[in-house]
Symmetry: C3
Subunit: 168 residues, 3 copies
Amino acid sequence: MKELVLGGARSGKSQFAEDQARATGKQLIYIATGGAGDDEMAQRIALHQRSRGDQWTLIEEPVKLAEAISSVDCKDKAIVIDCLTLWLTNCLMQDVFEEEKNAFLEVLPTLNSDIFIVSNEVGSGIVPLGALSRQFVDQSGWLHQSLAKICDRVNLIVAGLPLNLKGA
Amino acid sequence: MKELVLGGARSGKSQFAEDQARATGKQLIYIATGGAGDDEMAQRIALHQRSRGDQWTLIEEPVKLAEAISSVDCKDKAIVIDCLTLWLTNCLMQDVFEEEKNAFLEVLPTLNSDIFIVSNEVGSGIVPLGALSRQFVDQSGWLHQSLAKICDRVNLIVAGLPLNLKGA
Amino acid sequence: MKELVLGGARSGKSQFAEDQARATGKQLIYIATGGAGDDEMAQRIALHQRSRGDQWTLIEEPVKLAEAISSVDCKDKAIVIDCLTLWLTNCLMQDVFEEEKNAFLEVLPTLNSDIFIVSNEVGSGIVPLGALSRQFVDQSGWLHQSLAKICDRVNLIVAGLPLNLKGA
């Protein structure tokens, strides 16, 4: 089972993904794509970790997502990837997005783990002015479309509650 | 009955909440949290008042929402709170959000009025750059999650039409 | 049949509208409201054209939408208007939005073509600071509400998938 969990900032999407991963009864893996770049970010990460509890194995991987997810440690587990948006940002900044995206989209359907992919829905505000922000919104939207085709289930989370888009 | 009515700017969320309040057949109370700080805002408020008609008792309360809603005037009525976003902004600016939020979340389930809480869905665009804006988006999202748990019904309004999230 | 197809940037809304237009079996018309103002925009337009294929008759009309859509060429066809957001921007910049909007809303219900109207959902992020951006968000939201009343069907597209708001 692969699921795409979309939602705005503080929509409860991570919590929703974690609850579903727990419900599988499988061993739990948490792939964090964000590094603690500054104090505010470090606080957010610590807050997330406290609310998750310690039944999770944490893997930190900002860029090589395809490699991480197809490693032997991730076989037949329940995996939360949190979040795709930071991974996209990291890949764009290191100019490796095309190859990393292709690798991820290629390996994803071949895996037998239950995978819950958390990502920010960023396209529903005013189109941002900078060319870089626009590129980010573009790549994010196209990536979500590609993943929605691959995934068995897609939910949009609003105020902690799911709007089902695919595979109820 | 408590309902959370979410929606973007000009999504028709206020109209939707007012229509539902009217349908209860109870006496109508309108709690406005926004003051007329400038000409543009004054125009928006006047426009809202004209479209509502005059069967409504207006209470203006920018900050002490828990106090207003639990007053004797609000007992057994149909109440629209419009909107939570301005109240959140006012509370953050006066540095009283924690206590006002806790008071509101505590008193809300104890009231026997039908309460329709209108709030902006602000988290679905690009994450804003300023720490203050991010704090606002965070608090707004967490507040919506807390309220969604308390409320019997939650709707997201898009183009004047509801997407039902809870309690159809 | 008239349908309003809303969605954020890169949500797959154009593709969704085109697929539905094709499914009618009628002759296909594509009304493009955006001009190639700069290189980035020209690239986007070229990309859209390639993905559409060449069964479409292209009409480019940045402002006079009511006139274009009620012309003899558009009679009893399947028409995609892509997108309303650029048309709104063009009309606001030329200060002709009130009359063009009224003309469009008046003529739309009288037409016998199947019309798929693509528009950006821009109101779900932080309220922008500039008065012009706010006016744009306001007009966009009110326009969507007016159109949603006229249209037989309304869908919000997220990650290429529809959330049905009206007329499933």
